[in-house]
């Protein structure tokens, strides 16, 4: 179904046509607890009303992640998750909704930039997030992604100064991943000052602004939309469900459905 539609276009359409106040983008740890279950969890996201999926490739040393996602990555690798295996999960999910791959820089370096980005396109992946590839290190990968219509999505943090935020926003493709807190991924009690964070991010870019890190409940998802987020990313809460629930697929379906409802 990707055909002539580029990844960048698919992502734009997912934001524009979500039918919600903000597009819902759940995070999925590829290969956790195993490849087949992770695919089933991704399908459940789509069934429950997700608009896009952020698919993580597990990495041995995930510096931007808190304990829940770190542990899931370690466990996925122990269960022999490979980059190819996770990309196959991505290809299956791309039949349903746009897939944005999240992986650390060394995964991209290990395969070689061009080979890696080609593999993304072959698997129908629409976008790529590399949390440890900041603005200064990104130009070569950005050019390769642009040539293939894949959105290289940058992150901005509360610590990012205004001038730098403008430069990142200008180079953003797909959406601008706005980190809600100074910290690693993980569930948090309340969203603080996100309205100002979102306003600042939106002023710096023409692409939609999605808020991530620390969003774990339907109430927080709704609050993010109220505060001006065009997209809401939910990670650790769902990974924790995949880890703890007796029936992970049913559990994540219920969680994502509740968040989707809260955004309608």
């Amino acid at each position: 179904m990707t055909g002539t539609v580029t990844g960048v276009e698919r992502i734009a359409a997912a934001f524009a046509d979500s039918g919600k106040r903000a597009a819902l983008m759940p995070y999925l740890m590829g290969g956790f607890p195993d490849l087949a279950t992770s695919r089933a969890i991704g399908e459940a996201y789509a069934d429950a009303g997700a608009d896009l999926v952020e698919l993580g490739i597990p990495f041995s040393d995930p510096l931007a992640d808190g304990p829940v996602i770190h542990a899931a990555a370690t466990s996925a690798l122990a269960a022999d998750a490979t980059v190819d295996g996770v990309l196959d999960v991505g290809a299956a999910l791309a039949e349903r909704l746009p897939v944005v791959i999240m992986c650390y820089a060394n995964i991209v370096y290990a395969r070689g930039f061009e080979t890696f980005v080609d593999a993304l396109r072959e698997h129908g992946v629409s976008g790529l997030i590399v949390p440890d590839l900041p603005l200064e290190e990104a130009p070569v990968l950005l050019e390769l992604c642009d040539e293939r219509g894949i959105a290289l999505v940058p992150l901005v943090a509360p610590t990012t100064p205004d001038e730098r935020l403008r430069r990142i926003g200008a180079g953003a493709r797909g959406f601008l991943y706005t980190v809600s807190v100074t910290g690693t991924t993980g569930e948090r009690g309340a969203l603080v000052d996100v309205e100002a964070i979102l306003r600042r991010a939106a002023a710096a870019t023409v692409v939609p602004v999605a808020l991530g890190f620390g969003i774990a409940t339907p109430e927080q998802a709704a609050a993010a939309a109220d505060a001006g987020a065009a997209g809401v990313i939910v990670g650790s809460r769902l990974v924790r469900a995949a880890s703890e629930a007796a029936d992970p697929v049913a559990e994540v379906h219920a969680l994502v459905a509740a968040m989707a409802a809260a955004l309608r």
């Binding site: 510096l63 770190h70 995964i107 603005l135 290190e137 943090a157 730098r164 990142i168």
Partner: protein, 393 residues
Amino acid sequence: MITSVEHRFGPYGGQYVPETLMPALAELEAAWLDASRDPEFTTRLDELLRDYAGRATPLYLAERLSEVGGRPIYLKREDLLHTGAHKINNALGQALLAKRMGKRRVIAETGAGQHGVATATACALLDIECVVYMGTEDMRRQKPNVERMGLLGATVEPVEAGSRTLKEACSAAIRDWVTNVATTHYVLGTAAGPAPYPAIVRDLQRVIGEETRAQILEKEGRLPQRVIACVGGGSNAIGIFTPFTADVEVELIGVEAAGEGLETGRHGAPLTAGNRPGVLHGAYEPIMQDDDGQILEAHSISAGLDYPGVGPEHAWLRDTGRARYEAISDRDALAALQRVAKLEGIIPALESSHALAWALANGGSELDVVCLSGRGDKDLAQVLEMIARDGGA
């Protein structure tokens, strides 16, 4: 003292960190450039290095070692510094810098515990809160250092992830920094990590080489044929090498940990083994990794060399041919420790024992300097256990 801060050494180095930290790296670089040009800062650091840490350290002609080696072998006695290793040079400098930047809290990673102890010491002296991340396997191997850090008022945070050694401690420290960056300075202990760390740590450690160069000229009237130092991340090596890099006749030899043997994959020698470059802990450098790019666990008898990456400047010194890198096995390092103890009455750290083992095994030089980067007291329990098990050397 400093004219610029390099971000790259050839293709190596860079800044591969979460966006949250990028402004902190810029702030650190600016603060360092400013401090290193400020006589008040450099004078204070020089005073502390001299009166508190015990610099200059002697350059000692190890006579019995020289007899065995068939040429004069000098030892640069960083083991005589306060806290027992070269790590205090960097820790004092960065703790002073943290104070200057108004950071009230300092974090550090440690493998052997030497950098953790040095940082805890500097923080006690300067009245800064100190948290040290340490793998639980290293805590077991280096129990006395864990206890020392506690006495010095630091909090040791045990790290249970992965191999429970230096790599995981580093990752945990970076995650803490991502969360507490506003109040916290990360005192990285080796010449690796994202820019500006490799340059800052090198410039805080180059005092080793500056002293050595002046001392050998005074004692021998000429430069050494070879300068030999162990390399984990590579801070003592880059410190002693740097003042000699323009002296092209001086061979620079970095000694990595061959662990159980390069062919077994259980080593800590990415430069010698020719491991592919990749990104680890914020820098692009040769690292031990699988085909997918997952970082592999290093192995070394020595907790300080038990690391799958290496400082980016060393990779560039290797590629340009300016320095040469070799590797020494666990067994040979342990044997060298015992030999040097009996020959010289000096118990070297297991890390430094790798450099000594290489010097003992490789003649063909007229005048050698070995960096004795630390003392072996911290290793006693482990060494005695291994000697009891394997019969020692």
